[in-house]
């Protein structure tokens, strides 16, 4: 691995965060549930840590969390952290996929609320996705963010 000069300003990363904040603000102003607030919160925290990592006496944790390694040691920690997250999520998502497949195969879980119009026509809007599916996906999303931050903490505190 080549040794690169330290403390370069991550313009690409900051641009992506600003873009993410803009999208979050747009969603927030359009009044859609909590997605806008969530994006704004994640973007603000990420931007704060990124700016903290630009300090001269920045910590290894800040550089791992913002994926801006200063040298080979921090790069190795990031690689290790990502490998850990990858292994955990490979197993987790496979199990989750099997779980969804099992749900899909349960007869009658996808209920249909057909109704009769005043003129006697039966209208069947089709099967509805049970509440458990979007709920599980939201839990997955929350676990994903939690796992990313946890992996950064574990990688930063990992022995060299």
């Amino acid at each position: 691995m080549s040794i690169k000069p330290r403390s370069k300003v991550p313009y690409l990363q900051i641009s992506i965060i600003v873009l993410e904040l803009t999208v979050g603000l747009w969603i927030f102003l359009s009044g859609q549930d909590g997605a806008g607030e969530l994006l704004l919160a994640i973007g603000a925290i990420t931007l704060l840590v990124t700016l903290l990592s630009l300090r001269r006496n920045s910590t290894t944790f800040e550089h791992i969390l913002t994926l801006t390694p200063r040298d080979e040691r921090e790069a190795k920690k990031i690689e290790w952290g990502f490998a850990l997250v990858g292994k955990i999520f490979l197993v987790f998502f496979v199990l989750f996929g099997f779980g969804l497949l099992a749900l899909w195969l349960v007869p009658g879980i996808f209920t249909s609320t057909s109704y009769v119009t005043p003129d006697g026509t039966i209208v069947d809007p089709g099967p509805e996705i049970p509440w458990v599916v979007p709920a599980a996906l939201e839990i997955i999303l929350g676990m994903y963010f939690t796992a990313m931050v946890t992996a950064a903490i574990i990688a930063a505190s990992k022995r060299d």
Binding site: I3, R6, N57, T60, R70, D71, R73, E74, D160
Partner: protein, 63 residues
């Protein structure tokens, strides 16, 4: 891996941060090498040896 990096740095009157700046690594990495918590790559080891005008074998050794 053991090293005499701390001694060399002391003789050169450099702080860990100064040496880190000159080598293009973090201060924490210099500290980790000196406290034997991290074994540097061959490339970094060569950079360190060259910086102190010595050889890798002189700077680093194993029991």
């Amino acid at each position: 891996m053991q090293s005499i990096l701390r001694d060399l740095r002391g003789k050169a009157n450099l702080s860990q941060a100064d040496l880190a700046d000159k080598l293009g690594v973090s201060r924490q990495t210099i500290n980790a090498i000196e406290t034997e918590r991290y074994s540097p790559s061959l490339e970094l080891a060569i950079h360190i040896a060259r910086f102190f005008n010595t050889t890798v074998e002189e700077v680093f050794h194993v029991d």
